[in-house]
């Protein structure tokens, strides 16, 4: 079943240009889906329309078969939304924020309290339940918004930049948490500026640019389209001259750091054999740029050229 089906979605703001120019988008149930795009591309407008926070100009939105125009409450009941900005009352206690959200979704007080406890414990906030939300750290506030979005057990969780501004440790723990709830059956749509995050978490991806879908593909297929990988190699000792290895381009960045350009489709064993024959010992290796980042920049650039 499709978790989300969008057809010809358009949005024109009262005093602005076309924010969305006829978007079609499908997300399958159980997917972990990335919606990426540069600032102002239309990601937040799309999410805002799905979550009933923005009025659409035209087009249709269906969530688990429920039409947003005909059955808005059925659509809302399926969705949990984690916005980009902190949007809770900072003076309300943490526990009350989550319990009240449960109440808005029709959960009786006792049930809302029970579910709030489960969510807050999962996100390690139960100990903070009586504190005002404003006293939480940035990472805790992000987790509070996730707990609030999950209290009614949504089938579709929409996360708009959920890890913006949180440290790497919290980000990794949030990734584990999101993988877990996705594995339990919750469909997740994620927008993020950390493309590494999308690459690690998501199975499918759409890139939106200037109000249009520029690309829509499976993550591994999209990454396969990369023509070249740029690798950074840390070597054990400085070398006088760089060896010529067929199919690979080597460049010295520092005395013990080399850059290797590897064409798509070539395996890395040839590179290592060539380096070993030249007496170069590689200590460690990493991608120069996140692979998705590289693709993203290429695609957005190409899309701009096509639509210009």
């Amino acid at each position: 079943m499709q978790a989300l089906k969008i057809r010809n979605l358009e949005k024109t703001y009262a005093k602005g240009p076309h924010a969305l120019c006829g978007i079609d988008l499908d997300v399958e149930e159980g997917d972990f889906f990335a919606l990426l795009g540069p600032n102002g591309a239309g990601k937040s407008t799309t999410i805002g329309i799905i979550c009933s926070l923005v009025n659409k100009t035209s087009g249709t939105v269906e969530v688990f078969g429920h039409d947003l125009d005909r059955a808005p409450e059925a659509v809302k009941a399926c969705i949990g939304y984690v916005p980009q900005e902190f949007n809770f009352n900072p003076f309300e206690p943490v526990g009350e924020i989550v319990i009240n959200q449960g109440g808005y979704y029709g959960l009786a007080r006792a049930e809302a309290h029970h579910r709030a406890e489960v969510c807050l414990r999962q996100l390690e906030l139960w100990g903070k339940r009586e504190e005002q939300a404003r006293s939480l750290s940035g990472g805790m506030k992000r987790r509070l918004m996730i707990a609030r979005a999950l209290v009614h057990r949504p089938r579709l969780l929409i996360l708009d930049e959920p890890t913006a501004g949180v440290d790497i440790e919290i980000r990794l723990s949030m990734w584990d948490f999101l993988r877990g709830i996705n594995a339990d059956g919750t469909t997740i749509i994620l927008t993020t500026h950390y493309l590494e995050e999308a690459e690690h978490l998501c199975r499918n991806i759409a890139i939106i640019n200037e109000g249009r879908i520029a690309e829509r593909a499976r993550m591994h297929e999209m990454l396969r389209r990369l023509h070249q990988q740029d690798l950074i190699l840390d070597i054990a000792e400085p070398v006088e001259a760089l060896p010529q290895i067929e199919g690979y381009q080597l460049k010295r960045l520092e005395s013990c750091i080399l850059e290797a350009k590897v064409a798509s489709g070539r395996d890395l064993s040839g590179l290592f054999v060539g380096l070993a024959e030249a007496g170069i010992r590689v200590v460690s290796m990493r991608n120069k740029q996140n692979r998705l980042e590289q693709l993203f920049l290429d695609m957005v650039g190409n899309h701009r050229e096509r639509t210009a």
Partner: protein, 254 residues
């Protein structure tokens, strides 16, 4: 059933909100009204003699109670809903499966809860200064609650259109306070020249204050039978207008 739960949640949240900040919401009206009673009722009032057959302090008690109800019902909804807009937590309701009429009723009930709570408190304070009598319990309670509903709705509409904290104080300062003060709280319009009596009849607050005074004292400057339909008419118009604004997402959706 789920709408009832959402409504209950909203009302509990609203009551907890103003209860938590009781020093800002509950205490000031009690102190202000006590000062009115001391200055206008006891000190100046003792020099004024009777009005409509009652001691001046007894005459102004109904108006002062209703003034507190009006300003607190209005203030509760306008500040709460505007803050929800300003902080973004209005989105908590917009993303949830709650129809607009439930959101509106929740906020209005929160406003009525504060209006009624303050009204009762001011009534208790007034008992230290005057001999409170009740001519008609039905009219007294009816006008008390309906006035609170009406000004809660007005506060909601103000909050929908407000874009800054200035916008939520302009209407209370420049519209609500003059209408209340000129609505017969401190005087009978019979004291005014004929022309100003006619002008006063265009002030809706006059009908509420006088109907409430009739409920307590049994005297009124206007036909009480006219007051209740006027209040109900205003409530109907404001409710429908507020509902339309909420459905269209005016001020809260782009």
């Amino acid at each position: 059933m789920k709408y009832w739960v959402a409504f209950q949640t909203l009302v509990i949240k609203e009551i907890l909100r103003f209860s938590r900040i009781w020093v800002q919401t509950v205490l000031p009206p009690a102190i202000t009204t006590a000062l009115y009673f001391v200055i206008f009722g006891t000190l100046i009032g003792s020099q004024l003699g009777e009005m409509d057959g009652f001691r001046y302090i007894d005459f102004i008690v109904p108006g002062l109670i209703l003034m507190a109800v009006i300003s607190n019902s209005y203030a509760n909804v306008v500040s709460s809903f505007y803050q929800a807009k300003f902080q973004g937590n209005v989105e908590e309701m917009l993303v949830a499966p709650i129809p607009p009429w439930v959101i509106l009723l929740g906020y209005v009930t929160g406003g009525v809860a504060r209006g009624v709570a303050i009204g009762i408190l001011v009534t208790l304070v007034s008992m230290f200064f005057s001999d409170l009598t009740v001519h008609s319990y039905g009219i007294t309670l009816g006008v008390f609650v309906l006035t609170s509903v009406l000004f809660s709705l007005a506060g909601f509409i103000n909050a929908v259109y407000a874009n800054s904290f200035d916008d939520i104080s302009i209407i209370p300062t420049f519209v609500l306070t003059p209408l209340t003060y000129l609505g017969g709280v401190f005087y009978s319009i019979k004291l005014l020249p004929e022309f100003w009596q006619q002008v006063s009849l265009a002030n809706p607050v006059l009908y509420m204050v006088n109907a409430f005074r009739y409920g307590l004292l049994g005297v009124s400057d206007i036909e009480v039978g006219l007051a209740i339909p006027i209040i109900l008419g205003f409530i109907a118009v404001l409710f429908l207008f507020a509902l339309l604004l909420l459905k269209r997402g005016v001020g809260i959706k782009s």
